[in-house]
């Protein structure tokens, strides 16, 4: 039957996603029978780059790993370095960092709702959710002066304070967003045409979610209670806790519902932070040289668990910074979940994990003699391990 095998290659440059990734779907008629993924097209050598820069300079390089979750990367790095230096940021700085994290989650999830709706051909939802995302972008711009790379962190604390006018602006913005989010929750769970693209598509059971090593909202949509903010609170998450939002269905609809419902949790926690913002300094003093040692820091990025390993040899520059982003954990599930579905559902299932290619391309995988174009599940696992080492 080998002769009848038909493979549809998609990417690395393709109209659906803005970032490069190569997919090959083996199809039988319209049904996908096998899927392989190849990553590594946006490898930028960030990890090596960190070894040539000072601890402070790295904060801004690290922030540029991702254009959507820039703050959470810088926070994870700052937390790791502070742990190595034995310094902890003052309570007000911790709370402001958490506030930025949650505002960032709101903008990331609204962006994702739009992109995933666009993949489904529902461009009205795409345009409206992105219009409303501007509200939170404006809030972030008002707080930090920048829409994307807020640069609110410094080692040992934050740069910006929040005053009463800004507090009121944020609360006003949240009120509008909450109202709109309620509307979107209604749309993604009730719109008949949209549900035909999402309900029962890409179903992942709880066992599968654990086996494929998924993290973040993807895992939570399959009923896995996994959230670093709850499991190992960092920043001020023990003072201003969030609830884990889970769903049991495990299909695309559940992934929509989990992310949209997480927004309400973010609105609630932001209000709580603004009402009880601790009073303290904004930054603690950090040494220029960081004592030798190794530190691990884990945070919950909008896409799931973000992991940093930082090693210092006592100098002004890190010896090693290792980043493992949530997308690499979730990619494995795409190859498995598309099997048995229509080819037209494949972009939706891919978009369902909220892939961030630039984030996850930390290693390039080359085999000189052999077919490098197609990666099996085993290859992906090996890539993940190479990424982790």
């Amino acid at each position: 039957m080998e002769a009848n095998k038909f493979i549809v290659p998609i990417g690395p440059q393709h109209p659906a996603l803005k970032e490069p990734g190569h997919f090959e779907f083996t199809v039988d008629g319209e049904v996908v029978t096998d899927a392989t993924i190849r990553l590594g097209y946006v490898h930028r050598g960030v990890e090596r780059g960190t070894e040539d820069r000072t601890w402070v300079q790295n904060l801004y390089l690290i922030e540029r790993i991702c254009g959507i979750c820039s703050h959470i990367h810088a926070t994870a790095y700052a937390l790791g370095v502070e742990k190595l230096a034995g310094v902890s940021a003052p309570p007000r700085a911790q709370a402001i960092r958490e506030l930025f994290c949650e505002l960032e989650r709101i903008h990331s999830h609204l962006l994702w709702v739009g992109v995933a709706a666009h993949e489904a051909g529902f461009d009205a939802l795409f345009m409206y959710s992105w219009r409303d995302r501007e509200t939170v972008m404006d809030l972030l711009e008002g707080l930090s002066g920048n829409r994307v790379h807020y640069s609110c962190n410094v080692l040992g604390g934050v740069k910006f304070d929040i005053d009463d006018t800004q507090r009121d602006t944020i609360l006003r913005g949240l009120e509008f967003l909450e109202q709109r989010t309620q509307h979107y929750l209604d749309v993604v769970t009730n719109d008949a045409a949209f549900l035909r693209r999402t309900r029962g598509v890409g179903v992942m059971t709880r066992e599968q979610a654990i086996e494929y090593g998924t993290v973040g909202p993807v895992a939570r949509a399959s009923g896995v209670e996994r959230d670093v903010r709850v499991d190992a609170p960092y920043l001020a998450y023990d003072q201003f806790p969030v609830k884990t939002i889970t769903d049991t269905a495990g299909d695309l609809e559940a992934r929509f519902a989990v992310r949209v419902r997480e927004l309400f949790e973010s609105y609630r926690v932001i209000r709580e932070i603004l009402d009880n913002l601790p009073r303290s300094e904004l930054a603690a003093k950090m040494p220029r040289k960081i004592p030798p040692g190794e530190a691990i820091s884990r945070v919950e990025a909008p896409r799931g668990e973000l992991f940093y390993f930082i090693k210092s040899n006592g100098g002004e520059k890190p010896e090693r910074v290792k980043v493992r982003t949530p997308s690499i954990c979730n990619f494995g599930s795409v190859g498995r979940l598309t099997i048995g579905h229509q080819l037209a559902d494949a972009p939706m299932i891919l978009a369902g994990i909220d892939p961030c290619f630039s984030c996850n391309d930390r290693a390039v995988y080359i085999t000189r003699n052999g077919d490098t174009q197609r990666w099996s599940w085993d290859d992906l696992c090996r890539y993940g391990v190479a990424n982790a080492e």
Binding site: A124, G145, H149, V154
Partner: protein, 141 residues
Amino acid sequence: MKISGMLSDLLRSLFKRPATEQYPFIKRKPPERLRGELHYDPSNCSGCMLCMKDCPANALELIVIDRKAKRFVMRYHADRCTFCAQCVSSCRFKCLNMSNEEYELAALTKAPFTVHYGNESDIQAILEAVAPANTEPAAKA
């Protein structure tokens, strides 16, 4: 289940004015904390060079002419700057600040991107010492 969840949004939008802003004819007020072009005031500077060391983009050069007399010249490469404001928070003497109005920095030549701050005569001396006669002076005190 609804036939179309967003039909009312779409119908309402038919009767709305276009949302496009007429930039550059009508400019929006920039946010208070916008990080635009960097400005340097040598009067309080101690010449500690922390701004230079911390800059992630190597956009700053602090040239010390006479530390005691506070004669410093700052060469700022706006084209390398990532506008992160790390230098502003690193400076203990508040010599640096970022303008929230000067954000339209595009130019057709590279010259306007090298900005010198400091005493007029010091800048002249540095420019004459470093640059050959044919380079256009880019001083902007």
